[in-house]
Symmetry: C2
Subunit: 248 residues, 2 copies
């Protein structure tokens, strides 16, 4: 019998964002594991299943535990918020997986915040876009700064993950200052969402100058428009094309 580990993207939280494939994986699994908050989300739906939770910083232990448990013969679903890949556990699991050759790993994609938060705002990532995390826990700040500058030079729309946390209250302000320094207009249409699909859900359309001074937290995703992004009746919209072809 196949030894199986699902790495499952749940979307932002509410079960309405679960795909049928994610639902089937959760049903097939004997053990649900992941970061405490995400396991709580699914536990209520499957109260009889075994669960295993680890705190935020113990991701590699969690991946190893999931692979070991699958190797032992129990089917495991390792749950992630958003997508299974994007800043998720699919990468570390697949890096460890060759040590567990009998385990078949199936990656189950999910709706990442750029899309779920984007839908609340309108269509901020309707055309070419970048996803950039401001967390410097595993990435040097210089890499993040360079990516912000390059995204600005490419006139990309951006979805900014992890814009702030208790330990990094000013990172979004630093990022906005880098974008302003790179020539992005302070009037650029921007937006942010908080707690998509959960209690306290909010969506705000603003400008880069205002976003710089907004109070975002770890439950937020920020969106920076390209030069052609519009604010229209409270929505943030990246047009599909360049009807007015711009000089570069």
């Amino acid at each position: 019998m196949a030894k199986r580990l699902y790495v499952v993207g749940l979307g932002p939280g509410d079960p309405k964002y679960f795909t049928a494939q994610a639902r089937a994986a959760l049903e097939d699994a004997q053990v649900l594991c992941g970061y405490t908050v995400y396991v709580e989300l699914v536990k209520g739906l499957y109260p009889d299943k075994e669960t295993y939770t680890t705190p935020m910083t113990k991701e590699i232990d969690r991946c190893r535990w999931a692979l070991e448990t699958a190797e032992g013969g129990r089917t495991v679903a390792l749950v992630c918020s958003g997508d299974a890949g994007v800043y998720g556990m699919a990468g570390p699991v697949l890096q460890l997986a060759p040590q567990f050759p009998e385990v078949e790993v199936e990656v189950v994609p999910g709706v990442t915040s750029a899309l779920s938060g984007g839908a609340l705002l309108g269509a901020p990532v309707g055309h070419d876009f970048c996803v950039i995390s401001l967390s410097d826990l595993l990435t040097p700040w210089e890499v993040i700064e360079n990516r912000l500058r390059c995204a600005a030079a490419g006139d990309f729309s951006m979805a900014i993950y992890n814009p702030a946390s208790h330990k990094r209250p000013d990172y979004l302000r630093r990022a906005c200052d880098i974008l302003l320094d790179a020539g992005v207009s302070p009037d650029t249409v921007c937006g942010y969402v908080r707690s998509t699909g959960r209690a306290g859900e909010e969506a705000h359309v603003t400008t880069l100058a205002q976003l710089r001074d907004a109070s975002l937290d770890m439950f937020c995703t920020a969106f920076i428009g390209s030069s052609s992004t519009l604010a229209d009746h409270g929505r943030m919209i990246a047009p599909r094309g360049y009807e007015k072809k711009r000089a570069l």
Copy 2:
């Protein structure tokens, strides 16, 4: 009673990728409309619902028809492949929507190809990434070229949409040449998927030099690794961080 238009991202095709929210929108709708191929995907599930299809190039007519029909009192689901926003119909619908003030537009996000194709390959967009379309139907090629160069300068992972078509058989080669010219190593780990979730599904891990000469078509999505992307046991993996912090 609310006049309602759902703009629904279906994911890559197979109903396993539908979210519960997408399913509920399709069920609530009286009329299903969209590009012929996508309406065919959902018609089988709801054979009794009215459908309205338009060809690929008639998107704006389709959006207007959907808004008019919703204004007339019938609930409409306008379906898109992948996400509702990413190169989808949410943008044009929201741009037209102020002309139909009684219609409530709800954007329902879906699993875009960067995620669904990414899951087949492993975790190619596990860290910061860009999504870039090579279609120059609505975007000048110079904008696309600049974005490729900036994505390379930022050492982003990339998901490349619309890598080729009958009319643009050599665009992926041109894009690869731009990346090589911008200093991306020919050994960079790359990948591509074809027909995710449909008959003929394929996933290939390769290098930038080989991707340049691969035969991709309009059913493909290509993935370009960052300098830290790994190929491991047939998977393409973007590590979550910079354990070896690189000099910039």
